[in-house]
């Protein structure tokens, strides 16, 4: 789909396009990619935390930072709990912050069900850890100005969330 970078380092914007998103022409852009491992609870939250630090350094309004951090955290936890592992791409231009979460499986059979508050396919041991309350995707949507999911069973899921700046 797009090039991944193990260290979350920026890649040359010319080489990368977030899944399906059109790149603005000559505007400065920042792109960073973060790998997230399946069931890697020790590192869970680190991608969201790094994304937050980057946005803070960019001087973004506290509210934008907060919403993006929450969306990134929910995306990251979804990758940890439900996917076979994947990555989160952070794309920042002068108009918006975009988060693209990509994985290669297992995919969702019914997206509208997944978007229902309280619906979760998380196993019991995850729920016992306090996750899997079925609020992840709805929460992510609530924090975003635009939100979309593409998913195919057996192929993977791409969740795109954008937050407008100012």
């Amino acid at each position: 789909m797009y090039r991944k970078n193990d260290n979350g380092q920026a890649m040359d914007p010319a080489e990368v396009t977030p899944c399906g998103a059109a790149r603005p022409s000559s505007e400065p852009v920042l792109e960073m990619s973060f790998e997230v491992g399946h069931y890697d609870f020790a590192a869970a939250g680190e991608a969201a935390s790094k994304i937050k630090q980057v946005l803070r350094k960019l001087g973004m309004a506290p509210d934008v930072v907060r919403r993006a951090a929450v969306a990134a955290y929910e995306a990251e936890m979804n990758l940890v709990i439900h996917s076979v592992g994947g990555s989160i791409l952070l794309h920042v231009d002068t108009e918006k912050v975009t988060l693209v979460s990509c994985d290669e499986g297992p995919g969702m059979p019914d997206i509208s069900l997944a978007m229902k508050e309280g619906y979760s396919t998380a196993p019991d041991e995850i729920r016992e850890m306090g996750f899997g309350a079925g609020m992840g995707l709805p929460n992510m949507k609530r924090c975003s100005d635009s939100f979309s999911i593409e998913s195919e069973v057996g192929r993977g899921t791409t969740v795109t969330a954008s937050i407008r700046i100012a």
Binding site: A10, G45, K57, L58, G59, R66, V92, T94
Partner: protein, 444 residues
């Protein structure tokens, strides 16, 4: 209320440029340039972590001295409860009050009593406070400054009450003024401080329009004067004395014990505070009602202007709290009376806590984005050892300094080695070049 005053200062002649402080600074405010530490005023929160870290004592706390008492007709010392944990030889709090009078103060008012007042106000305040949770204690000015610099989202969570120091200053000044008929501005009120952040709070208050305290004197600066006077069995009473709960504020969890609430949490040590506030900022502590956060390890007893080991001081503080228990009920009732008399508004935080900009890489978004992209590229080329030899605390901080034009990539010793290797290889190549005059024809 934008203020750039800082009580933490560098003594250049003592600084050896060792880079220990840059690694410990919670806001990455320090760099070593030209062999000396340089503090970025916009980022510094006066937590005093560098004062604690520096083995050469090159970081100091600029505070008032006993000389400054002369400017006033009448003076009141406001000892932080932590002071009482510092003097092992003292037989009890009254002996320390007496020693403070011996070194030049006319009277003493315990800040532990201010703590009792603020405890009462916080309790009432929490009842009327909007649903926003958790409420974060505003008692530690270094923590409040950290929130202003790094977590502006959380400013609305800070309890809207003044600090115990202010409460004590206001009631002591009013009492002395009415009893002796001395004008308010002729009375000098000095806080005896365990830390740098409180000095800054006295000179540049966090929220208040004006400071109700006239100066701050470091515990470490008058320690010598006090230690020679305790043990002589002198004794004196303060204008107001706090309860055992008020005294316990000097230790971590002390404020929580005084409040006696459920769903509370205490954290101490500025790096622990940073981690915890990050959690709060991420919205993951919504079930907690109240957070006590203190910048120093073990609480105020571990302040950078104290003398004792913080854990020894903490143990002693517990003993002192027990020693004053007999007068506790009286002190608590008196604090309640004071709050009833003046009203909670009197002790409410004056003015708004404003965010302090200082972290952004550039104020213009498009420039910031371009710099950030460049930063990541520079960072990818750095070794990632975070050794600090370049004078920046981490490779990431160095990359930021490079893109902001404050440093050069080859300030990194590893980048310098690479550059030298390239030059050396070039030299070797040149050295092996055959000169035309020396080339021999192959005659065979």
């Amino acid at each position: 209320m934008e203020s750039r005053f800082h009580s933490v200062k560098l003594l250049e002649e003592k600084c050896k440029g060792c880079t220990n402080c840059i690694k410990r600074c919670p806001t990455e405010a320090i760099r070593v340039r030209e062999g000396k530490a340089v503090i970025n005023a916009a980022r510094c929160i006066d937590c005093g972590e560098c004062v604690r870290t520096c083995e050469n004592h090159a970081k100091t706390i600029i505070a008032n001295s006993l000389e400054d008492l002369r400017e006033y007709e009448y003076t009141i010392a406001l000892p932080a409860p932590a002071l009482y944990s510092q003097l092992e030889r003292a037989s009890g709090p009254d002996e320390i009050v007496w020693a403070l009078q011996e070194i030049g103060f006319d009277e003493v008012c315990d800040v532990s009593f201010g703590a009792d007042i603020i405890t009462e106000c916080t309790r009432r305040h929490l009842m009327s406070f909007p649903k926003l949770r958790p409420v974060i204690s505003g008692a530690c000015p270094a923590v409040v400054r950290l929130i202003q610099v790094r977590y502006p989202n959380l400013l609305s969570h800070v309890a809207k009450v003044e600090s115990p120091m202010y409460a004590a200053a206001r009631v002591a000044r009013a009492e002395v003024s009415s009893r002796l008929g001395i004008a308010h501005d002729r009375i000098g009120v000095f806080f005896i401080t365990p830390c740098a952040a409180k000095v800054t709070a006295v000179i540049a208050p966090l929220g208040s329009e004006k400071s109700y305290v006239d100066g701050a004197i470091s515990i470490s600066d008058i320690y010598g004067e006090l230690i020679t006077r305790v043990g002589q069995h002198g004794a004196a009473r303060p204008v107001y004395r706090g309860s055992s709960f008020g005294f316990a504020w000097a230790n971590s969890s002390g404020e929580l014990k005084a409040l006696g609430l459920q769903n509370v949490l205490a954290v101490d040590g500025i790096h622990n505070v940073l981690d915890l506030l990050e959690e709060v900022d991420n919205g993951r502590l919504a079930g907690v009602d109240y957070i006590e956060a203190l910048a120093c390890p073990a609480g105020c007893v571990g302040g950078p202007a104290t003398v004792e080991n913080p854990f020894v001081a903490r143990a002693r503080m517990i003993e002192i709290s027990k020693a004053v228990e007999a007068g506790s009920d009286y002190a608590l009732a008196e604090a309640k009376q004071v709050v009833d008399k003046y009203g909670e508004e009197f002790f409410a935080l004056q003015g708004e806590l404003a965010a302090v900009a200082g972290l952004a890489i550039d104020p213009r978004l498009e420039v910031a984005i371009a710099k950030m992209s460049e930063l990541e590229r520079v960072l990818a080329r750095l070794p990632g050892l975070d050794c600090g030899a370049c004078g920046s605390p981490t490779c990431r901080a160095h990359a930021e300094d490079v893109v902001c034009g404050h440093a050069s990539e080859v300030d990194c010793v590893f980048k310098l080695r690479e550059a030298m290797e390239e030059v050396a290889e070039e030299l070797l190549k040149l050295a092996k070049t055959d000169l035309p005059s020396l080339q021999r024809r192959n005659d065979k």
